[in-house]
């Protein structure tokens, strides 16, 4: 099959003619050389009250690895200063796993023969009711990326229903145009998460073979469109391990930095996913991102942007998650099930298959107990929709 040009916008995709932001992020990443930093640079970065982008680069470099303990200590101080003892809780809800993209590392990709499913309105309501009963007050609505099977109206309806059951509604769906984000905001959503996966456009093209997602710059500018559409906050991430994770993490931080700089009111947060085993994943060779490197990235985000939120993924084991809250992470998921309809269907895997395997399947109550046992305060809601 002939592949489309991954740098060329498709006809319905909005182009932000007046913004250079995406291009600036890519240029900054291309100029970033993790190998050029030394221990002296890392020490200087750790001693600085306010970090420059270059300091951030030093903290992400191999030279910073021996300083992980010092980074963790600095990160813990910053987290304490800006967030106190609070730890926010949320749960993701997958409402559809139909996908038109061919991303070779993903369990949902259109070539994978998994059980596809999409919840109808009643199904969405049942799932949300079941989650709300556990006491959860924040939900993140996710879909596979199919405009056909889960169009903007469908997602909007899910947001409206979510607004009845939850205080805080976020979405992690395919990138869309500014007016579509504005519509979803009016439906009750206020936070948008888009994972760029990798900021290296060549590697991106190798991994994303087909579908809307193949268009690199359209995805790259999603957060800016979301903020312009009136969303209160946006989250950034690279799927660490797809490419050089240090360069990708540098791009994530730079992207967040530039959005904050240009839209100072926007609430910024980071996610830190790394590759987990899924169908077909053995065909690619993930670059090694062990817990040590993952923690380095998380601490670097925290020290560079101490005011930003940081979510710890359910892909990580409970022991890791419990230790990073209060140190660098400010938000943790609980009661997670990534199948479709899996919160209410008798079979716990639901009617549609999962995107990836999770490592921490603890319930909300269990996670709350773990947070309290670390002397921290679980917070179910810190937001009001206006």
């Amino acid at each position: 099959m002939e592949q489309i040009d991954h740098m060329q916008y498709l006809p319905d995709m909005e182009i932000l003619e007046d913004s250079e932001l995406g291009a600036q992020v890519v240029r900054a990443m291309q100029n970033y050389d993790p190998q050029r930093y030394t221990a002296v640079d890392v020490k200087r970065a750790l001693a600085a009250d306010y970090l420059t982008q270059d300091d951030f680069g030093a903290l992400l470099s191999p030279a910073a690895e021996p300083f992980l303990e010092a980074m963790a200590r600095r990160a813990a101080i910053e987290t304490q200063k800006h967030f106190g003892n609070s730890v926010l809780l949320f749960t993701p809800l997958y409402i559809s796993n139909y996908c038109e993209n061919h991303c070779i590392y993903c369990g949902f990709n259109c070539k994978n023969r998994i059980r596809r499913a999409k919840l109808d309105e009643d199904g969405i309501r049942r799932e949300m009711e079941a989650i709300a009963k556990t006491g959860m007050e924040e939900v993140l609505i996710l879909t596979g990326e199919s405009r056909k099977m889960s169009d903007v109206r469908y997602i909007g309806r899910a947001c409206e229903i979510a607004h009845e059951y939850f205080k805080n509604v976020g979405i992690e769906v395919y990138p869309m145009n500014t007016d579509e984000y504005a519509y979803l905001h009016a439906c009750g959503a206020d936070y948008v998460t888009v994972f760029q996966e990798t900021y290296d456009s060549d590697r991106y093209a190798e991994l994303h073979l087909a579908g809307h997602k193949r268009i690199f710059p359209y995805r790259l500018n999603a957060q800016e469109r979301a903020v312009r559409g009136g969303m209160r906050g946006v989250a950034f991430a690279a799927l660490l391990g797809l490419s050089d994770f240090r360069k990708d993490a540098f791009a994530v931080g730079t992207h967040a930095y530039l959005i904050q700089r240009n839209y100072p009111h926007a609430e910024i947060s980071f996610s830190c996913p790394r590759l987990r085993p899924i169908i077909n994943n053995d065909k690619i060779n993930p670059k090694d991102v062990h817990e040590r490197q993952l923690l380095q990235v998380m601490c670097a985000y925290r020290i560079f942007m101490p005011f930003a939120g940081l979510t710890i993924s359910t892909r990580e084991r409970a022991g890791f998650r419990d230790h990073v809250i209060g140190m660098c992470a400010t938000k943790i998921s609980a009661g997670v099930s990534t199948g479709i309809g899996s919160h209410t269907e008798e079979a716990s895997e639901g009617v549609g298959d999962s995107q990836f395997e999770i490592s921490d399947s603890r319930s909300l109550d269990e996670v709350i107990a773990a947070i309290k046992s670390r002397g921290l305060q679980p917070v179910l809601n810190d937001y009001v929709y206006i």
């Binding site: 200063k81 106190g84 005011f307 305060q377």
Partner: protein
């Protein structure tokens, strides 16, 4: 001696306003009691939770001061204030309008607008603001019941980094000037009170202390000490030693 803090026609004997945002709910009661606080601030967005209602953890008899955190402009602040009133939080409202996610500095212009709208709506507005004299005067004219300048950016633990500007507000504004945000230690609270601040608002410094109860007590004592010193009138302080050999000593007639 009767030394009451008057805000919007209400009298308070304590000059310590405790923030609740960063507390473990189980510890709020103890902190309030040991700090001797009669006013506790709370964010509506936190009250607005289905479970773990913060209101149940605040001792009765304490005046609630809900804040409008989350508001990015005057209109949003008014909406949040009305929600707080519906939630049973009373007429006091601390106006917080923030349009910057990095330093969380208050937007004085929108805050003054919100002040006017809320005062007309029957609230007792207490604006959190950047210590600027003109903005403070606008807020007074708009119906503020107190002025709450920041000592330093939230979470910075820098103490009284805006000291000279707060001093000007204390001198020029007839309403209570309550120092808010950035106070990291009891000594800094004491310093602000010595200067004539009407009260101190703190949260992080106590919520994240090693021993919350002891730190609450320390703040209580520091604020009383500072207030007492202010009322007593601090002694003369000279910028430099007086010279023992005057430059003009050679003059003979």
């Amino acid at each position: 001696m009767n030394d009451e803090l008057m805000i919007g026609g209400h009298a308070f004997s304590s000059r310590f306003i405790l923030g609740s945002g960063k507390f473990d709910l189980d510890l709020i009661r103890a902190a309030v009691e040991h700090a001797g606080a009669q006013i506790v601030t709370l964010a509506l967005r936190r009250v607005n939770s289905f479970s773990g209602n913060i209101l149940e953890h605040i001792p009765s008899g304490v005046t609630l001061l809900p804040n409008t955190s989350g508001a990015r402009n005057a209109e949003e602040a008014v909406k949040i204030a009305r929600l707080a009133r519906e939630a049973g939080c009373g007429e006091f409202i601390k106006i917080e309008v923030i349009h910057d996610s990095k330093y969380l500095l208050p937007d004085n212009y929108e805050t003054a607008k919100a002040c006017e709208m809320l005062a007309k709506d029957g609230f007792i507005p207490m604006p959190y603001m950047y210590p600027d004299l003109y903005a403070a005067r606008d807020m007074v004219n708009a119906g503020a019941a107190a002025i709450m300048p920041l000592a330093a950016p939230i979470g910075s633990n820098q103490g009284l980094s805006t000291k000279q500007f707060i001093r000007i507000l204390i001198e020029e504004i007839d309403l209570p000037v309550i120092v808010d945000a950035g106070i990291g230690k009891p000594s800094q609270a004491c310093e602000a009170m010595e200067m004539g601040a009407a009260a101190i608002m703190a949260n992080t410094a106590i919520a994240t202390a090693g021993n919350i109860v002891e730190m609450a007590k320390a703040f209580r004592h520091a604020i009383i000490a500072g207030r007492t010193a202010y009322l007593a009138g601090t002694g003369r302080v000279l910028d430099r030693a007086s010279a023992s050999s005057p430059l003009t000593g050679f003059i003979q007639d």
